[in-house]
Point group: C2
Chain length 482, copies 2
């Protein structure tokens, strides 16, 4: 029996918190006099009252839940946040269509950054702050999810983290979440603050600095400018953002070690080395090709390359150059990078470095196994052998990812989009990147999709963000049996 009381209790409390978060937009609303105060207050009120009443109604239910309740709470917290989070946009009339508002909001909470806005600069400041904040909150959610919850549910090889996470032993869910979340949220908040300060130094104003810090650390990619980071010609600003995107795509537990001066532990981490290696390798190739094809100076080629590579690998989705106008070779590489994602335990989406690395290691061993069919050759990761159970979890995850991509491309092409656009839209939403290629390239947005298309892509964003299986499992009949 699924215990719905507990689900309502937890979701109620979370919704209450969302309502409180909305209030952070108030100072900016007051300062800029944009007439968005009332809709924000109403939305906040609705969320606080609905959430608060639900929570209080079920407050006596003991908060210990099983696997199934866990899946439902995770999936529905993102859905409910997006539903209530879209209220300010609808009530203010700035995004009057509910489908559009929901798309923009779930694109925020899933840290995707796919937008339907044709004129971002015309939006009021309070709402832009809330829009950036949805990503920042989404990033906080992902930190808990990927470091404290998914490993316990055993999704897609995330078990590999349990041993890695600093804090008490992982035998009990509750104290673990608290201790880990507190530590890593601390780092998340520190990095956000640092980035804002660095951006202020570069001449960005406070409002834009806060918004961009929010969406960088979440690997979200919502910008307050229609032209995204291309708006800022300053190389300093572009490099600062590149650096913080890189941090946001790094396992937060490694940042924790680094802040405690345990650099050896960071560098010994195989996923981190793979992440840095891939990033440098691809940046080098892209820089060279850009230099010879785009007539840019050396520094400009490197800056565009490193910014765009880091932005896509980490699934942030900021843009300093319209990569869809580069030679096909380069945007094919960009498209491929949408499937790698940042490190596991970061706020980045997509398949993630750890899984790609385990996949490659296992494939390599598979060749060895063909020559020595009776030898036992386990995959080794960070000097420990990985159980075949985890390897098959990882492979299953990647295969689900590809099956959903294929299904998605068929659906989007059915709506009349060509292969580039369909592939781009699916890769960029499922991977929580934001901009894709073709009709959803960096200079375009998602406004032109039909209502059905927007709901479908919203669903892809949700699935991608919640590591697919968390959502898919709810659709499996055996989930509901007994």
């Amino acid at each position: 029996m699924i215990n719905f009381r507990i689900i309502f209790k937890v979701l109620g409390l979370l919704l209450l918190l969302e309502g409180l978060f909305m209030l952070f937009a108030i100072p900016f609303s007051l300062y800029y006099h944009d007439n968005d105060l009332v809709p924000i207050l109403i939305s906040s009120g609705i969320s606080i009252i609905t959430g608060g009443l639900t929570w209080i109604f079920f407050i006596k239910t003991p908060t210990s839940f099983g696997r199934r309740e866990g899946y439902i709470i995770v999936t529905f917290s993102w859905i409910i946040f997006s539903f209530f989070g879209s209220l300010p946009f609808v009530l203010s009339g700035e995004i009057p269509n509910f489908t559009d508002a929901f798309f923009e909001t779930i694109s925020g909470f899933t840290t995707t950054g796919a937008s339907i806005l044709n004129d971002i600069e015309s939006m009021s400041h309070g709402l832009l702050l809330w829009r950036s904040m949805t990503q920042w909150i989404g990033g906080m959610g992902i930190i808990v999810l990927s470091i404290a919850i998914l490993p316990i549910l055993g999704i897609g090889g995330m078990q590999l983290f349990i041993a890695e996470v600093p804090g008490p032993t992982p035998d009990k869910l509750h104290p673990r979440i608290k201790a880990t979340a507190t530590r890593l949220w601390g780092i998340y908040i520190i990095f956000t603050g640092l980035e804002a300060i660095f951006l202020l130094f570069g001449g960005m104003d406070l409002f834009d600095a806060v918004c961009h810090s929010f969406t960088t650390m979440a690997t979200g990619g919502f910008s307050t400018k229609q032209a995204s980071i291309a708006f800022y010609a300053s190389p300093y600003i572009q490099y600062v953002i590149t650096f913080f995107m890189f941090l946001a795509g790094t396992n937060f537990t490694l940042s924790y070690f680094a802040l405690h001066m345990k650099f050896g532990k960071v560098w010994k981490n195989e996923e981190f080395r793979f992440y840095v290696g891939l990033l440098l390798g691809v940046t080098f190739i892209v820089s060279v090709v850009l230099y010879f094809t785009e007539n840019l100076p050396v520094e400009g080629s490197f800056r565009n390359a490193v910014f765009q590579v880091v932005s896509i690998i980490t699934t942030t989705g900021y843009v300093t150059a319209d990569y869809s106008r580069w030679v096909p070779f380069l945007w094919v590489i960009i498209l491929m990078l949408m499937f790698t994602g940042g490190s596991a335990g970061s706020t980045g989406g997509s398949i993630k470095m750890m899984r790609i690395l385990l996949l490659l290691k296992n494939s390599w061993l598979e060749l060895k196994r063909m020559i020595h069919p009776n030898a036992i050759l386990p995959v080794r990761f960070n000097h420990r052998s990985v159980s075949s159970q985890i390897i098959s979890n990882v492979l299953a995850f990647i295969i689900f990812y590809l099956l959903i991509t294929i299904f998605g491309v068929i659906v989007i092409s059915f709506l009349g989009y060509d292969l580039d656009s369909s592939f781009g839209a699916v890769a960029a939403t499922l991977g929580n990147v934001g901009p894709g290629i073709g009709a959803v390239g960096p200079a375009e947005n998602y406004y032109h999709f039909s209502g059905f298309g927007k709901w479908f892509l919203s669903f892809l964003m949700l699935m991608g963000r919640l590591e697919l299986l968390t959502v898919l499992v709810i659709f499996s009949p055996s989930f509901w049996k007994k």
Copy 2:
């Protein structure tokens, strides 16, 4: 120690046989007086002498070999056949460039059907017959390989066949190959003859009927006409070819059962049901969309749909309509079908139905395993449970297939092709289909690729045809150790 003597002996004998096969082109050469008699005789002579001498030189080496020798023999038999098989094209001057001739020939022996010819009808008849025959010989090779050799090497789940194959128990390689090969080659030859007779009834002349039967049963797709099967307006001919493509994409052991009136055994086979189901389902969708978008009558829509779907699913690659001009949704589906392939144990290439089915079954169970993490839920196939060993072989195969596809797309896009064309070229060569989309669509060919591009695509055809791992394993350093 790898025993090279045995490798030379076997390859020598096979090359001798190739030389003898070339002689089948002589009657057609004589009948049509095309001046291709001398180059064919010289090529045949070179092959017979080179092969024969090598064979005789090593004739005393006992013919029992291990795993490693097996991999080398399989890979190099295709390479050597393509090398010597391209001699008639080069010596006659009809394809003067060796790279082009090699591409065309390996495209034949791998039953791919990708062509560099801009004017097929201008070729002499003897050479066209040889061109068709390369595919037919390739098909014979694949029957032995996939039913008698790969299962023993344990490649990509092909072990599942061992129990299925009629004949003596699979404890010894030699008697098994003989018995199985004789039975299934018999069926292959009977079907080829039947198709030729049916095509003659439809008004095709003997030469074209023989050539098309050769390339249908091999799921090869070389046509004697530049317009492929679109040359024949007759619905009868198109339906006959559709039917025989369907047979060629069916496991030949099932055809063996069917010819022995054991229809129950055929219908109980899960792969066959999946193959038929997918084929009918996709044909229905394509027919409906064609009817509404292409202004064709009902029968014409159905005929184009079923022909093209069967042609691509079986990896034959014949064309009656330029599907790349259909709405994107339809050619996206066609592109996806290039990754399914026919049944295992057929002459079709690509991933193959059995693996796709096992992949889907395993993914479904993976969801169940998430809810009941301690339950043991084996994949069942044809009412037997499949070992986790075989499942991981299958998953590894599919992942290698995708990794090579990704690598291929990056390489081809580097040569300056856009995503559609790169993806199309890789899917169509690795999957042994022939025509792709974009710059290699059904109305185009592969002539425009650079020399490097042609060699690279030749390599993809070879890997695809030999189930990837057979070729890849030779590149693994541990293959050559000790």
